[in-house]
Every structure is written in structure tokens, then in C-alpha cells.
């Protein structure tokens, strides 16, 4: 319950935050909503001598939807994602997923940027962003670069972000498509036993594009190219869905924990994938 002592910083410019990160390296960490970091610090699983609160840095809570291009500042909260009409219209998948994350209080504080940058495979937004083919903007002492969500995750808590970089924005092209975020969990606020994000487009009764990603079934989120490919061109009959599910299950590597043994997780993943594909197709 009691974090180790640390220095609290609340810079009002991004350059100041990056300067503190550059000075202290791994001894400094930025904090967004604080609802993964502070709990970890309270359990002393994270010891951060320099904590940098991003709340005063301008424009990080902005949402913009221009045509199909969606941009979200890293400090956009889950509550904003749920409430924003433009976002809900452009990418309803986001709202559907955000409503399955944590609880109302946590959603007022927890941010999309924190969710995707945290690196915990149990977070829901990373798989979702891979499904949306989102791009993450990273700003560091040497400037700005973009990393695709599908290339961002390396292992549990290991991402492409360098120590002195701040993830500032998430952007993607929102295409009209059937969508579903299906999540099996033990109770409200729990991380997924298995979850899947699916986007499907329909053209003349056949699937013209498909994107399938999975949450908490490996040490990173998993985008399944093979599962997506198995659906394209089909009429989404049972055989095609079975083939896609089988391909997706081939891409995951769940581990045993309190949510169940590996065999159970493979079974649940299959059920969740099937439901997500069917629901996305019904909306396509």
C-alpha cells in the first residue's frame, strides 16, 4: 500500500518531461492516469525514483477525427473514449472495448496512452490497436518517430519505446467495418482470460477485409495475419470461421495462471474468437 519515496515532477512542457527522462534514464518514468503504475509502486513491484506526471502538458488529451483519420492524445482517458461521439461514430470498436476495461472510477483516470505503453499483455487496448493497425507517436530527445502497434510489443512490459521517449499520440485510419471486442473475464475489472478484437468488411456477401487480434493469450498482444487471411474471400460459413480460429490459435502461446490452465485458455480463446468473428460479421 505504501510506495517507496520518490521525487514528483509535474512539467508543463513535453521537452521538460523528456529532459527529466534523459537525465535519469531508467530511474524515471512518466505517469499518465497512474492506475497501473501507482498500484505497482504501492506493491513495491515498481521502484521509480523520479515520477513525471504528464497532466499539465498541453494537447495530450485531444481527440481529432478528420475524415477517416483518427488521432488521440496519449492522455485521452477511457471515459473520454466512451463519451466522445465523433470517436464512437468513426471507430465504435474503441468504445465497445473501453466499456469492458476496469470500472468507472479507473476509466476516469486511466488513459489510452498508458494502456498501450504499459506493456502488460493483459491490457485490452494493445490488441485493439493492432487490430486497427494504429500508429504510436514517440517523442524523444532526438525527435519524433512513429511505430506501428503491430511492431511495438516485444515481450511482457518490453516495448519499442526507449527509456527517454514519451508516447504522445495514437492514430489510425478508421474504415467502415463490422466490429467486435469480445472479452471473457472472471468479473468486472478483471483482465481477460481471453479477448479478441475483430474488424470485418463485406462486399457482395463475401469478406473483403479482415483484421483479428487477441489479448492476454501470449506475452504480447497477437495480431493474427493467418486468421485474417483465412476469412478474406469467404462467405464466413462455419468452415471458414473454424479455419480462421484454428489459424489464430496457432499464433498464441498462453500461460497458466489463476484464470486457468493452458488447455482451458486455448478452448476459451476459440470460443471468444468465434463469437467475435460472428458478431463483427453481423455488423459488417
Amino acid at each position: 500500500m505504501i510506495p517507496a519515496p520518490f521525487s514528483y515532477h509535474r512539467p508543463s512542457a513535453l521537452t521538460d518531461a523528456i529532459a527529466i527522462l534523459s537525465e535519469h534514464g531508467d530511474d524515471a518514468r512518466v505517469m499518465a492516469g497512474g492506475h497501473s503504475l501507482i498500484p505497482m509502486m504501492k506493491l513495491r513491484m515498481a521502484d521509480i525514483p523520479h515520477l513525471i506526471d504528464l497532466q499539465d502538458i498541453p494537447n495530450l488529451s485531444d481527440i481529432s477525427v478528420e475524415g477517416s483519420r483518427v488521432k488521440m492524445g496519449a492522455m485521452v482517458t477511457q471515459a473520454q473514449v466512451i463519451a466522445d461521439q465523433g470517436l464512437a461514430h468513426a471507430a465504435p470498436l474503441l468504445k465497445e472495448a473501453a466499456l469492458q476495461i476496469a470500472d468507472p472510477q479507473v476509466r476516469y483516470m486511466g488513459t489510452v496512452g498508458g494502456n498501450v505503453a504499459n506493456g502488460d499483455p493483459a491490457n485490452d487496448m494493445p490488441g485493439l490497436m493492432q487490430c486497427l493497425d494504429a500508429s504510436f507517436t514517440l517523442v524523444g530527445p532526438n525527435g519524433t518517430r512513429a511505430v506501428n502497434a503491430r511492431a511495438f510489443y516485444e515481450a511482457a512490459y518490453m516495448t519499442a519505446r526507449e527509456d527517454e521517449e514519451v508516447l504522445t499520440e495514437i492514430s489510425f485510419d478508421a474504415h467502415a467495418a463490422g466490429y467486435a471486442y469480445e472479452k471473457q473475464k472472471r468479473k468486472i475489472g478483471d483482465y481477460a482470460t481471453a479477448a479478441s478484437a475483430v474488424l470485418l468488411s463485406k462486399d457482395g456477401g463475401r469478406c473483403s477485409s479482415a483484421s483479428i487480434a487477441m489479448t492476454n493469450l501470449s506475452d504480447t498482444p497477437i495480431f493474427s495475419e493467418a486468421a485474417s487471411a483465412a476469412l478474406i474471400g469467404t462467405q464466413l460459413d462455419d468452415a471458414a470461421i473454424k479455419q480462421a480460429v484454428s489459424a489464430a490459435l496457432g499464433d498464441i502461446d498462453p500461460t497458466e495462471d489463476n484464470r486457468g490452465p493452458v488447455a482451458f485458455k486455448m478452448h476459451v480463446a476459440g470460443v471468444i474468437l468465434t463469437r467475435a468473428i460472428q458478431r463483427a460479421w453481423s455488423r459488417a
Binding site: F6, H35, M41, K42, L43, M109
Partner: protein
Amino acid sequence: MKISMTVNGEAVSGEVEGRTLLVDFLRNDLKMTGTHIGCDTSQCGACTVHVNGMSVKSCSILAAEADGADVATIEGQANQDGSLNVIQQAFQDHHGLQCGFCTPGMVMAATELLKHNKKPTVAEIRHHLDGNICRCTGYHNIVKSIMAASGQDVSSIAAE
């Protein structure tokens, strides 16, 4: 470090460590002990207060983070004359509490719900209380209390 904020309409300030949690600042420094601590994993919601109008878990927010914020706690909810407000009274009338430990957080969560949704359905109330755990009531009478506080008929709920 020195911090200042408004708590229940009054300006307060204090000297805290970077690591001081808002719940500890409220309880230990301001001696407002209605806000409770029921867990160490940000789940139970017994520490729920309002920060700038949002219901948040004060165990997962640093006091320093709330520097300059407008904070509301259970101690500020009663009417000016000291009588219970509509929501507090409804919890009493409909037996929405037993041990009382979750009640301050429940009332703060309910207050925020009714501010945005004047006539919530039972499902909406339950959804909004997702972040607040109660060990005693089984939630039924809490839902009833909030329905009653919103001026809705609770006779059908009572018959359940």
C-alpha cells in the same frame, strides 16, 4: 512538498511527500476519515471521492496530483443544516448499508451517477457501481436506495 486544493468547498493546504496518496492526505492530514481504504489493488472503491467532478479512487491518486484540484468527500455531502442529503437519506431509509465501510464510496459514486443521469435504470446503477465493492448488502438495497434517491418507484424492486 507543499500542496493546496479545495476540499468540500474549503481551501486547504499541506506538506506531503511525493508518495503520499490522496486518501492518506484526506484521512491523516485533514482528519476526514469518512473516506476508507478497503484494498491495496484499486478495486474496492471504498476510497471513492470526487476530483474535479469525477468519481475517482483516492488510493490510486497522489495527493500531489490533486494539487490545485477541487475535491469532494462524504463529509461535504450533508445539507447545510446538517441533515442528510437525499442520497444519504435514501441509503438509511432503504437499508443500503450494514457495516458502513463501503458507504462513503458508494454514496460518492451514486452522487456522481445521479448528476449525469437523473433517472438511471437498475442496470445503469449496477453498471455505474462496478468499481465499488460491498461485503454486507449484496448490493440489492444499495440499488434500491439509489433508485429511490432519484425519485423513482422502488415498490417493484422491494417485491423481488
